[in-house]
């Protein structure tokens, strides 16, 4: 039987493990052990929470099996976990610096892309283009920041695009009646949706994927319950005030929406790096069991991440509404994919526990500048944006894989 070491970073595990896994077992054992695995699962029909824990330990033990085998000892749950812990902690100093690599690559790519654009098109290489990136992608940035929190905890939020559509719809519906109060109302709706999804995910142990998928259906459906047709927005809160150009030195200008996006970014940066909540988010993404054992408020933090995401999406929806000046149920279809792509390109691991909100900013800027460049090019059709985004995703994911091989095997 051909045996290739699963983990290239641990060649010794492959070498000494060959004695155990390398000998070709006869088909009888093969089938028998397959049956054992199936039996194990059959005995635990999703089971009680305690059973789920046992299974979790089993998985971890198997993850650490490579290390255990290299010691030539029998794998046991405790030892497996221990081996995993030590293996993880040894190269920590080196890992911390290597973690910056995807962010740096994104930065380099952004600079290269921008330089190329400036050489090709003189109009491209101006500061105004960078500000325009913020103006045109402010809503995506805000949504992606919320997504960063959720992905850092190891979850995912598919409801982002739908919540954006819902809050644009709500804004359009309410702004004529309640004026400025529309902002807290819409933010509260977003936060409430986020809370509901987080609560279901944490307390009822529904996978984030499924729970936020239900949230997505609900939010989109509610858009159509409000109105099947498009509602246009004429209130100055959306139609005029956000579009007042604020002049900057050097013949440039910004719009108020840019400040909103930057404020959210600053707030997120502070929350993730300088508060207990932020440390908790990273800790849960790193290892939820450990976070729990350390006495961190896992439930509060995890639900909190979804509340942050819901609130950010609601805010993004209002920014989006200033951009489109209308609310309809088909707004922002697939925006969650753009947000996830921006987060991943920004160097955040989808398995959680590692990443930076500033990387997300770079991810959004990179995606935005690709769009701008393709628009400048003129001859390229819009679908190339999708293809290029896919290729970028591929490059960054493979890059992450080579940087942190141990981590990305999880899940």
């Amino acid at each position: 039987m051909k045996r290739t070491p699963q983990d290239p970073a641990l060649p010794e595990a492959g070498d000494s493990g060959a004695g155990v896994g390398g000998s070709p077992p006869d088909s009888g054992t093969r089938e028998a052990s397959g049956r054992v695995a199936a039996d194990l699962d059959a005995r635990d029909p999703g089971g009680s929470a305690a059973a789920a824990d046992v299974r979790q330990t089993g998985r971890e033990a198997a993850d650490g099996a490579g290390d255990v085998v290299s010691n030539g000892r029998a794998p046991g749950p405790l030892r497996g976990r221990f081996a995993l812990a030590t293996a993880g902690s040894l190269p920590l100093g080196r890992m911390a610096r290597r973690e910056y690599l995807p962010v740096l690559v994104t930065l380099a790519l952004f600079v290269v892309l921008f330089a190329t654009g400036s050489i090709l098109y003189p109009a491209f290489g101006s500061g105004q283009i960078i500000i325009d990136l913020f103006i045109d992608n402010g809503f995506l940035l805000v949504a992606a920041i919320g997504m960063t929190f959720v992905i850092l905890t190891g979850g995912i939020d598919l409801s982002v695009g739908a919540v954006i559509a819902l809050s644009a719809m709500l804004s359009a519906l309410l702004v004529e009646h309640v004026g400025l109060f529309v902002i807290p109302i819409v933010l509260a709706v977003g936060a409430l949706l986020g809370f509901a999804m987080g609560y279901v995910i944490h307390h009822f142990e529904i996978q984030p994927f499924i729970a936020t998928l239900a949230g997505m259906f609900l939010a989109r459906g509610l858009c159509f319950v409000i109105s099947i047709d498009q509602i246009s927005i004429k209130h100055p809160l959306f139609a005029e005030w956000p579009h007042i150009p604020i002049p900057l030195p050097g013949d440039m200008f910004v719009k108020p929406t840019v400040f909103v996006a930057i404020a959210v970014l600053a707030l997120a940066f502070w929350a993730l790096h300088y508060t207990r909540f932020g440390r908790g988010v990273y800790a849960i993404g790193g290892n939820e069991q450990s976070a729990l054992l350390m006495g961190l408020p896992v439930a509060r933090t995890k639900i909190g991440a979804y509340v942050v995401s819901g609130t950010c999406s609601a805010l993004a929806g209002m920014l989006f509404a200033t951009y489109t000046l209308s609310g309809t149920g088909v707004h922002a279809v697939g925006m969650e994919l753009d947000a996830i792509a921006a987060v991943v390109i920004g160097g955040t691991l989808l398995t959680g526990g590692s990443g930076y909100v500033l990387g997300t900013l770079l991810g959004v800027m990179l995606l935005g500048s690709i769009q701008t460049l393709i628009r400048f090019e003129g001859t390229l059709s819009s679908w190339w944006i999708k293809i290029v985004t896919g290729v970028l995703l591929f490059v960054f994911i493979v890059l992450q894989r080579t940087i942190a091989p141990k981590k990305s095997q999880k899940g």
Binding site: Q6, G17, G21, P24, P25, T29, R30, E31, S33, G34, R35, A37, A38, L40, D41, G46, G47, A49, A50, R59, A62, A65, I156, L158, F204, E205, I206, F209, I210, A211, L213, A214, M216, F217, L218, G221, L222, F224, V225, I228, G329, L337, V344, L350, T351, S381, W383, W384, K386, I387, T389, G390, V391, L393, F394, I397, V398, R401, K410, G411
Partner: protein
Amino acid sequence: MKALTKHRLFWPAAILVVMLLANVIVTPTFFRIELKNGHLYGSLIDIMLYGAPLILIALGMTMVIATGGIDLSVGATVAISGALACSIIAEQPDQEAVGGVLTAVAFALGLSLVLGLWNGLLVARIGIQPIVATLILMVAGRGVAQLITDGQIITINSEPYELIGGGYLFGFPFAVLVVAVVVAGTAVLIRRTALGLLLEAVGGNAEASRLVGIRARRLLVLAYVFCAFCAGIAGLMISSNIRAADGNNAGLWIELDAILAVVIGGTSLMGGRFSLAGTVLGALIIQTLSTTIYTTGVPPQVTLVFKALVVTAVCLIQSPAFRAKVFRRRRPTGPASPAPAEAEVAA
């Protein structure tokens, strides 16, 4: 009775039956199946016909989820397969020619296999997390589909091609027959050989199954290829049914419906155990829900709200944590009982 409710297919089946019965109350003729011009007609046949692509994709998705993975790219594969088939047929001098249609079908399915191979290699060889690996194709795939159709909606007029998604054979809709054959073939292959067992072993623990001598990587690739193949057939059905290829909207969000169908059917997203019958039930539940809403005259877009409610209900009912917390708390054993239950969960 208790054994019955504990069966893993009990809840999906019960929900389907309740939904069908609710339909009969609203429209008494719901169960009626008529024979017109040698074709079977009726609401039940409609559910099967329009649910056919979803059942196929959910079937492929079950195999992938059984290995502990997930395939987000099936919607994109649906679009690409339909786009390629239609653009080949559109270029034929005679769109009615059977040979041309067969060529188109072969190319479309061949490309689907390649897409599945791409996903499988990313997951099994490079070792990327499945949700991330297939996200790449999900994002890029629609761009590729539009590239094939040149951003247009290609309409075709080819009777042999229309058979796939809208035609009848021996009185049955052809699509339903295709689904029946694929489901039966898969069931035989999975449950009468060791293949299903091996898939579950890989899903339970890929590393352990590799150590006991299962060729885990090859099985993983196989699962993704099979899933993409199913999506390819579904793409043919969808484009054939509307006689057009729409790179943007064909199969939009069908990956989410398929994953839902699998989850409703009782397959764990953690991998390691799966139920083909459950998946078929799940897909039928989703399709029945859509059909019900169409027949009751609610605006079709509002379907999403009901879908969200049904999904939440089904997932919560199946969630052991939910049952433990909600149903045990109602038991009048005094206020002390919920506390240990929660402590257990928290631990």
